[in-house]
Amino acid sequence: MTTDTLLEVENLDVNFTGHHGVTRAVRGVSFALGRERLGIVGESGSGKSTTGRAILGLIPDPGIVSARRMSFQGQNLVGLSDGEWQKMRGSRMSMVMQDPKFSLNPIMKVGEQILEAYRLHFRTSQMDARRRAIAMLEAVRIRDPEQVYQRYPHQLSGGMGQRVMIAMMLVAEPDLLIADEPTSALDVTVQNQVLRILDDLVTDRGMGLIFISHNLPIVSSFCDRVLVMYGGKVVEECLAGDLAEAKHPYTQALLRAIPSLVHPKEKLSVVSRDPEWMN
C-alpha cells in the first residue's frame, strides 16, 4: 500500500440557493486521501453524500461548489468542463451508489452496460471489451458470468445487482472509488459478501476508497480512517481502530446510541444536539 496522495480537498463548500435562503450543505471540509480506505460517516443532512458528489462534479444546479483546493493526482477538480469530467469519471475516479435499480439502465443487458462503460474509455474491439466485461463479472465473484451477462437488471437480486454495479464502475480501472451507501439496501448476510468483494478488489488494485455511510460499525470495521460529519462539517477524524476513544461529543453520543447486541443498555443514549457543533 503506497502512500502517494490521490485526492486533496481543502476547505470544500457546497451551497444551494433556494427560496428560504442559502443552504450550506458542506462547510469547510478538508482531508487528504492516499491509496487507503477513508470512511465518511454521518446521519441524513450531514453532507456526506454531497461531499462525495462534489468530488465527482455531480452537484446539480443550483448548487455551487467552491474549495480552496480540490485536486486529484495533481489535477484541479474545481471548475472542470463537461468534457474534462467525462475523461475523469470512470477511468480515473468512479462511484458506486446505494440502489442498483436506479443506477443501471433497465432496458439494457447488464453485460452490455459493463462493455459500454469500458469502451467509453478504451478503444478496443467489441470482442476484447466483451472479454473484459466477463472478466470483471468473474472478479466480483459472479459464478456464471456468461449467463449473467445476458440478464437485465430486474432479473438480478439485490446483492448481485450491486456486484454488477461494482463491476461496471471498476472495469475502466479507476484509481479512486467513492462508494455511497453501497450496502445499505442489502440484507445483512449479503452485505458482508459484497464488502469482501470490494475489500479484495480495492486491495488488489491498490485503489483509494471513500466509503460513505450512516452505518458506523460497518465503516469502522471496513475502513482505515474515519471522518464523522455533522451539519456539513467534519467533527471528528481518526483511525478506524481509535473510534471508541472519539473526542467529539457527537461521535461519542452516536456510538452510545446504537443498540448493541453485545453490550445491552437499559436506555439508549440520545444525542443532545449542541448548537455549538454547527459553528
Binding site: 445483512v188 452485505q191 475489500d199 458506523l216 446510541a257 446504537i258 443498540p259 447486541l261 443498555k265 440520545v270
Partner: protein
C-alpha cells in the same frame, strides 16, 4: 394459560398471475400477556407478512389466529380493531398528507365515538414527546422521527391491548432510532401493551424483546431468548450466520 396471541400453523400464499409464492409457511408461536415478541429476518423472510396477517391486512390460508384463546376470523369487527393497532415502517407514507396531526389523532376517536377528544389528543401528543405546537401542523412540516412519534401516538389512541410494529425505526437515523426505541420502552411501562416487533436489526430486536423468532424464506427457523442471542447460544446455522453478519465486517 397466559397467552394473549396464539399463531397456529399460519400460512400466507400470494398469487401473482399464475405463480404462487409462499410468503409464510406453517409458522407457529405464542405471545404472553405483556410480552414484546420479536420477529427477525432478512428481506423475503415473511416477517412483515406475519404481522399483516395478524392485523388482518392479508388473508391467511386457513384459520390460524387466536386471541385470548378465541379464534380471530378474517372479517374484523370494530372492537377487534380497537384491540389491535399497527405502526408502519415508512413515516412518510403512514400519515394522510392533507390532514393536520390533530385530524390524524382524533380520527380513531371519532370512529369509535369517544368523549373528551380534545383532551385525549393533547395528552397523546405529549405522551410521545411532541409538543402542542405540532398539533395543527401538516405531516410534511414534521421530520421523520416526529412523524413516527405521531404514528405511535395514533396507534395508542384507542388504548389497544396489542401493538404491532413493522420495522418502526428502519427508515430513521441512528440517533432518532435511539429516541424512538426509548419512547417505546417508556410507553410499554406506562400502557402495558403486548407487542410484536418486526425488524431486520438484531440489536434493535434484542433491545426491546425477550423472545425472538428467526425467519428465513417464510419458515420459522427457531425461537431464541434475547439473552441466548447475546451470548451466542443458538442452535441453527442460519441464526449463527445472522449473528456473525451483524457483528460487522472482519478484514
Amino acid at each position: 394459560m397466559d397467552e394473549l396471541i396464539q399463531v397456529d400453523h399460519l400460512s400466507v400464499v400470494f398469487r401473482n398471475g399464475g405463480r404462487m409464492v409462499k410468503a409464510v409457511d406453517d409458522v407457529s408461536f405464542e405471545v404472553q400477556h405483556g410480552e414484546t415478541f420479536g420477529i427477525v429476518g432478512e428481506s423475503g423472510s415473511g416477517k412483515s407478512t406475519i404481522l399483516k396477517a395478524i392485523v388482518g391486512l392479508v388473508k391467511p390460508e386457513n384459520p390460524s389466529l387466536l386471541i385470548d384463546s378465541k379464534p380471530l376470523g378474517n372479517e374484523r369487527t370494530k372492537s377487534d380493531r380497537k384491540m389491535m393497532q399497527f405502526v408502519f415502517q415508512d413515516p412518510y407514507g403512514s400519515l394522510h398528507p392533507r390532514q393536520t396531526i390533530d385530524d390524524i389523532l382524533r380520527e380513531p376517536l371519532l370512529i369509535h365515538g369517544s368523549q373528551n377528544i380534545d383532551d385525549q389528543v393533547r395528552e397523546a401528543l405529549l405522551s410521545v414527546g411532541l409538543e402542542l405546537i405540532h398539533r395543527f401542523r401538516y405531516p410534511h412540516q414534521l421530520s421523520g422521527g416526529q412523524r413516527q412519534r405521531v404514528a405511535i401516538a395514533r396507534a395508542l389512541m384507542l388504548k389497544p391491548r396489542i401493538l404491532l410494529l413493522d420495522e418502526p425505526t428502519s427508515a430513521l437515523d441512528v440517533s432518532i432510532q435511539a429516541e424512538i426505541l426509548n419512547l417505546l420502552v417508556r410507553l410499554r411501562e406506562n400502557y402495558g401493551f403486548t407487542g410484536i416487533l418486526v425488524s431486520h436489526d438484531l440489536g434493535v430486536v434484542a433491545h426491546l424483546c425477550s423472545q425472538i423468532a428467526i425467519m428465513q424464506h417464510g419458515r420459522l427457523v427457531e425461537i431464541v431468548t434475547s439473552e441466548a442471542l447475546r451470548s451466542g447460544v443458538v442452535t441453527t446455522e442460519y441464526t449463527r450466520e445472522l449473528l456473525v453478519a451483524s457483528r460487522g465486517y472482519s478484514r
